[in-house]
């Protein structure tokens, strides 16, 4: 039975390649009209999960409903409801941007007038109208991703899968992409987003699940997850031991390194906490030689939740 309130319902999803388990029984519940982010390092199984939900891959076990339909028995109903913008650009390089869009209009079986209107709207919305006559190979990375997403939207999908939509983009293009994604949700679309960047999940997602070695190791709102991470701190370096000594008295509980003459003060990385640290140092008249702010990132999440750094997972990254 379809669950009307949840656009994505997954329980006990498993997939293995030979004896290499990629997904080890994951559950996902995504309410319609929200952004859900699956966060994890390379090789965690994110793309495999997306490929299964988008009918590209058959699971070994598990119950899946996408927009109320079972991909195993009603793949075409799932396909009619979804859109996929993959990690690797799903654009036809031999065609122009406009031809790519027209191709999508035809494959979505829109009538000619409706198709043209929709293509023109989306090209405009993604700032591609001027580039529409150029071959997709000449596009910049950011333009390709925008074209990719615009092509996905021609069919008016209710559920959109975005597999690492900003990997490899410069910060400005990344922000443009984020804005586009936010606009989509405002239109009532459900978004399933995979990313390696905590910041991206934080910026966009209503709920985040952490995937590691094919298991969900934590799930919650970004704020809930960040509370699990003690990794954020301000690192202070001093000119001499005397200053370090005084500062250490000011802050009490903190991590002190006498050799490096540094002190790590817990912080959420925000301006307010930074100002507070500086005020307290001023109050005690302690001079600092150097200050760096360390905000919690994916490494901290994995270090905290798995007891090992993210890089330890790299050995498994070759097996997808």
């Amino acid at each position: 039975m379809p669950t009307p309130s949840n656009a994505i319902e997954v329980t006990g999803l498993r997939k293995a390649y030979g004896d290499k388990t990629v997904l080890d029984g994951i559950d996902l519940h995504v309410p319609a009209g929200t952004i859900f982010s699956l966060l994890g390092p390379n090789g965690a199984g994110k793309t495999t999960a997306v490929n299964i939900m988008s009918t590209l891959l058959r699971p070994d076990a598990g119950r899946i409903r996408i927009a109320g339909h079972d991909p195993a028995t009603h793949a075409d109903d799932v396909r009619a409801a979804i859109g996929l913008t993959g990690q690797f650009s799903a654009v036809d390089n031999f065609l122009t941007g406009g031809e790519n869009m027209a191709l999508m209009a035809d494959l979505n079986h829109l009538d000619r007038r409706e198709g043209r209107r929709r293509v023109a709207d989306l090209l405009e919305r993604f700032d591609l109208t001027e580039a529409a006559g150029k071959h997709a190979t000449t596009y910049s990375g950011g333009m390709r991703r925008r074209l990719d997403l615009a092509m996905t939207l021609v069919g008016n999908p209710r559920v959109v899968f975005l597999d690492e939509p900003t990997t490899g983009l410069d910060p400005r293009s990344r922000r443009t992409m984020w804005d586009s994604i936010r606009t989509l949700v405002a239109d009532g679309v459900t978004i399933f987003l995979t990313t390696q960047y905590l910041e991206e999940a934080d910026q966009l997602a209503d709920r985040v699940a952490l995937l590691d070695h094919g298991r969900i190791i934590a799930e919650g709102t970004p704020a809930e997850l960040k509370r699990l991470i003690p990794g954020g701190h301000i690192r202070l370096r001093f000119a001499g031991l005397a200053e370090l000594e005084s500062a250490s008295r000011v802050f009490g509980a903190s991590t002190r390194d006498d050799d490096a003459l540094t002190l790590q003060v817990p912080s959420d990385g925000g301006v307010r906490s930074l100002r507070e640290v500086l005020d307290r140092l001023d109050g005690a008249a302690v001079e600092i030689a150097e200050l760096t702010v360390h905000t919690p990132d994916l490494d901290d999440v994995f270090l905290t939740l798995t007891g090992r750094p993210d890089t330890a997972i790299l050995e498994g990254a070759n097996n997808r």
Partner: protein, 261 residues
């Protein structure tokens, strides 16, 4: 819902995609160039001697008639290599994943390749026939016989194009996609394409007699030049149909190997 209702519409869309792509890399040059070079080689270099073996004192003129159906089949046999490369390259592109997740007639991307290759091959065959006439090919076919010959050429082209698509889907790399269909090029030689099969020694002659291209070439000779056809016509049609069905199922299976059909 069923996407079969969109079979024609989606295949036409994919044909249009193929032709848009083909503007940048037209294959028709290869499809015409190779058989024309072979035609000139066989008629002007070997033709004088070989023609005397076909008919006493026949010479070059007799051989131009004899070899043209063989050259046409050579053109057909070399086509799946290009189809295979094209399909393998296309499958490596991200857009195929997009097609697979859309509610479209599933084999449409393949039928697009087939129809696109078929159109180019049929045009190429027409050009090769034109060149053959220029170098001495003298068919005596009626319009109905011409039509039947064109139909048979199209049928065989359709079959080998599906073979090319299946090879392209089976190959792991573009290099192997190029090599897989290559042995097909030998078939016109190991058949009645360039010399009659009864001039060959026992086992070779038997193999040449019963391979799929020989009845096609014999039927073409019958239709265009008025030689005897016998069983060849239905054998040619049966072979084409069997190869088409087999390769279509093979290609479909390869295309759906990981996902949900």
């Amino acid at each position: 819902m069923s996407t079969n209702a969109y079979a024609l519409r989606d295949s036409t869309t994919m044909l249009r995609r193929y032709l848009l792509r083909a503007r940048r890399y037209p294959l028709i040059g290869f499809l015409i160039g190779i058989p024309v070079i072979m035609l000139l080689l066989f008629v002007y270099v070997f033709g004088g001697t070989l023609g005397d073996g076909i008919a006493a004192g026949g010479g070059r003129a007799a051989y131009a008639n004899y070899v043209t159906p063989g050259i046409l089949l050579l053109a057909i046999a070399s086509a799946p290599q290009l189809t295979s490369i094209g399909v393998a390259q296309d499958m490596a592109e991200g857009i195929i994943a997009r097609f697979r997740t859309m509610a479209i007639f599933r084999p449409a991307v393949l039928t697009g390749h087939v129809l696109g290759n078929l159109v180019q091959l049929v045009v190429a065959l027409a050009v090769v026939i034109g060149v053959a006439v220029l170098v001495g090919f003298r068919p005596n076919a009626t319009p109905v016989e011409w039509l039947a010959a064109a139909g048979l050429l199209t049928l065989v082209s359709f079959a080998v194009t599906w073979f090319g698509v299946a090879c392209g889907l089976t190959a792991r790399t573009v290099e192997s996609a190029s090599n897989l269909p290559m042995p097909l090029i030998l078939l016109p030689f190991l058949g009645s394409g360039f010399v009659p099969t009864d001039s060959m020694p026992g086992a070779v002659s038997w193999a040449a007699e019963y391979q799929p291209f020989t009845p096609v070439m014999e039927t073409l000779r019958g239709l265009l030049l008025g030689t005897g056809i016998g069983d060849s016509a239905w054998l040619a049609v049966a072979w084409s149909a069997a190869i088409t069905v087999f390769c279509y199922l093979w290609a479909k299976r390869r295309f759906n190997r990981d996902g949900v059909a």
